[in-house]
């Protein structure tokens, strides 16, 4: 039978989404399953892999039913996922031993200190292209080793979330380059394989890392009979490796040319650029890209809170607007945004440091805190709301600047996707603060869309990655306003200095808050 449908599935932190597309990139159906993050303690964040397996199987089944696609006409499925942090620790029978420490988990503070003290950081950077932070998976593996010796003894391997699901689907165990690279610490960015030397230094047995490493468009295995019964895909359907959700989402909006960069602005921001690997910086995260995997590097940075800031502000200070939303259906965000539009660039002297959950790149400071400075009796709620939107944009610029400082070149336009890209005002602020016109796709299908592309390339029904350019359509770019840019240039300097001035104080505050 003719193979004319492609499945793409993305395992996210809060939910899993599956879509089916035809070979022209038309989305025929989609399904979502949501789930929770387990947070037993502050800084901890875990998930059981069965949650993911169940969500993937159920959404695939639902999409098949909704689209009425004949399973025999499905060319393949690719699965992308959140990075697993530690990965799923499994025993010899590939049974999970404990929940997976996910990317959000920041408990490995002592391990980070240990690495900073005992491993020459330039060496770490030279081999892995990355630095150390409790974000990286290798620190979480070390945490399990140091704190759960009973579990450690039983661990056979650490499997990334989507690779665990692929294993359940196919019985094959492999990892793609992007997922391997995102572990940090133990991955040699130039050789594109595990670093024996680093494994030794960090005391992580290399045998605990999957031996088989594949490209994101490679076929890992085929759907087994048991899996076929559970998810509805035909036995023998090719399962393609996929990759980390962030670069896969970048691919979904057609990022294929060197220097192309995309800011995914959702709850948090993930901004990344692709290049050939000549200039990288330890302030950003680098690993192989999910297309042209052996030539192209994806370097990204991002702030921990973006849309999260607006949600927090709305929930705490926009309760009246939430009541209106319930009563008449106008979004509370829209009401808050409308007010903030009247306020001039720079919010008449306010600066917000958006580190409400600590910060990832480029400052890598778990103790960083949110800050609103410059308040006077004259300032109103709308000033503060606008200043929050601006703070998120300064954070994006900060990442871009660190990339450019390291010699990374950026295309003259930035692609912008994600929920926040729906806010007209916020997108304009992003453009004005960074100076880059923002190009937004007409429709944003996110990572599953590129999973479908990878499934097509991997199964051979699509000729190349470049097909994505025909699939994606963009709106007119949102251009920066040069006058606002000038104003923001001045504020941005103070933004950077404010953090420097408060860094030590924030650390002290953190200590007090932890008690």
């Amino acid at each position: 039978m003719e193979k004319k449908y492609l499945f793409g599935t993305d395992i996210g932190t809060q939910g899993t989404k599956t879509i089916v597309v035809d070979l022209e990139g038309n989305v025929l159906a989609s399904a979502i399953r949501n789930y929770e993050v387990i947070k037993p303690k502050p800084l901890w964040a875990e998930q059981w892999p069965d949650t993911w397996v169940k969500a993937v199987f159920e959404t695939v089944k639902e999409v098949l039913e909704k689209s009425k696609v004949n399973p025999l006409e499905v060319a393949g499925i690719a699965i992308s996922g959140l990075y697993g942090g530690s990965g799923v620790p499994v025993d010899k029978d590939m049974e999970p031993i404990r929940p997976c420490l996910i990317w959000m988990d920041r408990r490995a503070q002592k391990e980070v200190e240990w690495v900073k003290k005992n491993v020459p950081l330039d060496k770490l950077f030279e081999i892995t292209g990355n630095y150390v932070d409790s974000y990286f998976g290798f620190t979480k593996i070390m945490w399990i080793r140091n704190n759960e010796p009973e579990n450690w003894k039983r661990i056979y391997q650490f499997i990334s979330p989507k690779d665990y699901v692929i294993y359940v689907m196919t019985g094959e165990n492999a990892i793609d380059y992007s997922s391997a690279g995102n572990l940090g610490g133990v991955f040699d960015l130039r050789k594109k394989y595990w670093s024996e030397e680093m494994c030794k230094i960090l005391n992580i047995p290399m045998s605990m890392l999957p031996e088989r490493m594949v490209k994101s468009a490679d076929v890992v295995g085929r759907v087994t009979k048991e899996a076929s019964e559970l998810c509805g895909l035909a036995e023998g359907t090719p399962v393609i490796a996929g990759g980390i959700d962030a670069p896969v989402a970048a691919l979904s909006v057609g990022v294929l040319e060197e220097k192309s960069h995309v800011a995914m602005v959702g709850t948090s921001t993930c901004w990344g650029v692709i290049h050939r690997g000549g200039n990288i910086t330890p302030k950003l995260v680098s690993y192989p890209y999910v297309a042209y995997d052996d030539e192209i590097i994806y370097t990204f940075g991002g702030s921990a809170t973006t849309g999260g800031l607006a949600t927090w502000f709305r929930n705490e200070f926009g309760q009246k607007e939430l009541e209106f939303e319930k009563a008449i259906g106008i979004s509370a965000y829209k009401l808050l945004e409308q007010e903030a539009e009247d306020i001039p660039a720079g919010s008449e002297g306010l600066i917000v440091l958006p580190y409400f959950m600590g910060e990832r790149s480029p400052i890598w400071d778990p103790n960083a805190k949110g800050t609103i400075i410059g308040l006077t009796l004259y300032h109103t709620r709308k000033h503060v709301y606008r200043a929050i939107l601006e703070g998120a944009a300064y954070a994006l610029r900060h990442n871009m600047d660190e990339g450019m400082k390291a010699g990374l070149e950026l295309a003259p336009e930035c692609i912008m996707t994600g929920g926040v890209a729906k806010s007209k005002l916020w997108v304009q602020i992003f453009a004005d603060v960074t100076g880059f016109p923002m190009r937004i796709p007409v429709e944003d299908f996110e990572a599953p869309y590129a999973d479908a592309l990878l499934a097509g390339v991997g199964s051979g029904v699509l000729s190349s990655y470049e097909k994505i350019k025909e699939w994606v359509k963009f709106r007119e770019p949102v251009k920066p306003n040069p006058e606002n840019k000038k104003i923001y240039d001045e504020y941005y300097k103070e933004y950077l200095k404010s953090y420097e001035a408060l860094k030590e104080i924030m650390e002290n505050l953190s200590k007090i808050a932890m008690r």
Binding site: E348, I351, G370, G374, L375, R381, L502, L509
Partner: protein, 516 residues
Amino acid sequence: MYVIGIDLGTSGVKALLISENGDIVSRAFEEYPLYTPFPGWSEQKPEEWWEAVKKVIKVVSASVRPEEIVAISFSGQMHGAVFLDKDGEVIRPAILWNDTRTFNERAWITQKAGGESNLIQMVGNPPLEGFTLPKIIWLRNNEPENFSKLHKVLLPKDYIVYKLTGRMVSEVSDAAGTAIYDVKNRKWSEELAKILELDISIFPEVIESFDVAGKVSKKMADEIGLSPNTLVIPGGADNACGAVGNGIIKEGLFLGSVGTSGVVLSPTSQPKFDPEGRIHFFNHSVPNMWYNMGVILSAGFSLSWFKNNFAKLEGMVQEISGISAYEIINAEVEKVPIGSEALIFLPYLNGERTPHKDAKVRGAFIGISARHTKAHFARAVMEGVTYALRDSLEIMKSLGILPVEVRITGGGAKSKVWQQIMADIFKVEVKTIQVDEGPAFGAAIIAAVGSKLFNSFDEAAEKFVKLGKTIEPIEKNSRIYDELYEIFRSLYPALKDKYEKLFNIAVKTSKGDENE
């Protein structure tokens, strides 16, 4: 027997008729206008004060016989300059405490006198724009015609004493705010007058707050319904009277006031003052006492700003149900842990006076994390204002003036949760006052002492001042606050330059600019 206490304020005059037992028999209030002919100017007409004062006296004295009113005394807005010619006529409108036209004069005086610290040694305070001395120099520089007619400069309430008795006289607590009265040695500073080439005779004789200035003149007595035997006691500056009204008359007792602005005031029996001039040092209305005072500009103002902008739902509930938004906020704040989980507010929403003397400093929230709620912010505002008050308290402690008890007044003192915050942050017993009538009540006490209804301020305060409840500091809370207060103190130095730059950028980029 009765006494009358009058507070000559900025928005109007308030009068209280009080029995010898301290009971308030009647009260009256009369407004008068404030004139702002140019930005930064602030003036009132002494004749309009006088008309208003006559009205309120008539109202409060109506219920008793004139002979039963033994004395009348005053509390007055400080620092204002009333310019009189040799016939005792007003030359021009009075220039008030909140007038800031004298920027250049302040600088000139400071330079002439060889710097701020010299001035502090000479008279006890730096000559802030609002103080009386720069206003006199301003008159000399800018209205020489008027200056040539100048015979005497009186303070606002002293002008009323003059109208009642015909005597031009001042008293120590108000003279202290002129910046040319030697607060420590209790006399006009001839040294400074000489340096500035000012004729010292333009300043009136200075007596004690509770001395008798005279009796109500026969003519006036008939006009306003007082007896010619009613004694006129000059009274004191509003802050001194506020302190007396709350029984703050001994070293160790502190006043903590959280109104729109915030005040920490404490008496001292020795002339102890801050050589850096971060807090004000004035003469008290009580015999041979002084007081130090710190002022923060946005105290209750910070909370009302927060309520109006960020507690809109609570505002809506107030409109519908009538339950005060502040009451709802207080209930929410009660649930937030001590220290607001390390969220800190800097209450410099309008620049700051004590201790920074910095018009460009601005407010901030520092240490925000995603788990902080609106209630955390509200609590942080209360705590931040209280840390700022503690700055004044710490300066006083460093001078050797140690708090035994802080009596709290003003709107903020009505909040139960804020009362406890104050006790915990000040680390000293806090007491509320039952009758919060402000400086007019203190003026009445001075009238009662001056007319010998009581032998001493102690005795009068015993009878008049009724304390409310006592709030003890909770040690484990204080320990948390001590740590956070240290951080609070480190924030101003860390952010000072940033504020200055932000201020300048904001001036350039704010909406107001479009009109230029």
